[in-house]
Symmetry: C2
Subunit: 227 residues, 2 copies
Amino acid sequence: AIFQECLRLLTPQDLIGETVLVTAGPTREELDPVRYLSNRSSGKMGYAIARAAVNRGAKVILVSGPTALTPPCGVEFLGATSAAQMREAVLGKAGEATVIVKAAAVADYRPATRAAQKIKKEGSREMTLVLEKNPDILAELGEIKGARYLVGFAAETADLLANAGKKLKSKNLDLIVANDVTEEGAGFDVDTNIVRFLFADGTVQELPRMSKEEVAGRLLDVIAARR
Amino acid sequence: AIFQECLRLLTPQDLIGETVLVTAGPTREELDPVRYLSNRSSGKMGYAIARAAVNRGAKVILVSGPTALTPPCGVEFLGATSAAQMREAVLGKAGEATVIVKAAAVADYRPATRAAQKIKKEGSREMTLVLEKNPDILAELGEIKGARYLVGFAAETADLLANAGKKLKSKNLDLIVANDVTEEGAGFDVDTNIVRFLFADGTVQELPRMSKEEVAGRLLDVIAARR
């Protein structure tokens, strides 16, 4: 706590007056009371952004899927498990936000039906799972964006810039942070990342490999400069 | 470490000479480099058993799926992600074991194909996932059991005793630990459990709600008495 306070005194307070809504972590989409579909997001990137934004003077709301992390001190924390719960939490808080950073890896699809009891399927060698599309939270935020600064993430395994650029445009973002999760030292569960910032005006900024804390700092530099 | 040593001095060394192989946690079955199918097992029950068995003088091998837990001191630890990896680790170590406690919640099914790149599926409102059956590790252990003491777990949401009894017989177990994960204070992520021990001779022992550490202790009491 004292260390946090010192860090804060040494950090430029360039986000005072901003309310930053950050989403982080994966979502879990349940098949039954036991099984679920999820993804490898650890939440580290989103938590690092939330922590850095608090240290720079912002009011921070962190909406997080299930992770093994402890919420940073000083954030308003809302937990969510499924994409539907995350959507509810995010849309409920979006009105208060001046900046929204959607670092969560929300599941695109969920099981079309959730069984009330654990599915028993002795014998059958195959089973078919029908999935249906989850609501697209980022697209909904893009539609109600107004004067807010809206940042998305694109974790890709191929065609990084093309896929990220398409997402930036189609979701009405100001900035997308793109990373190729197959690169060494980038992506899931590791403490470093290799990212590119793609801006709505077509500018691309490539960053070298750095810690997720440093990526968070660079991202907030950009946000503070453009607000 | 000192606390562990003291605990050990105060604990009856009734498992000296035994090699206890414990499996714990869930498995993850990947759809692509990002998404996976898993279950809500936290690993707490298996880790508690491994820790207690070390304290009682056993040599302990812990094979664990991905959890947020730290392996107990003094165990031989093998990490696994998928059911296939867990099967390989378990069958590789089963020969050394005199007692096998299969507390892991191994996924019954895995995606029939794993995509090499992140699946992109803009637009389509539904998608179908074809799953195929994973190898049944516990049934394989039952076949090669010999003089080993073999313990399974049954986490059920309905027809608890019938489902657990069926599993006990079909997999050639000596003992199955059955719990209804829908009961308050039992099941996933909580620190307590409400279990019944079902023995191969038809005996059923019901335990009250207790901590997972106490369940581990009771289970090892039974094992120590029957070895």
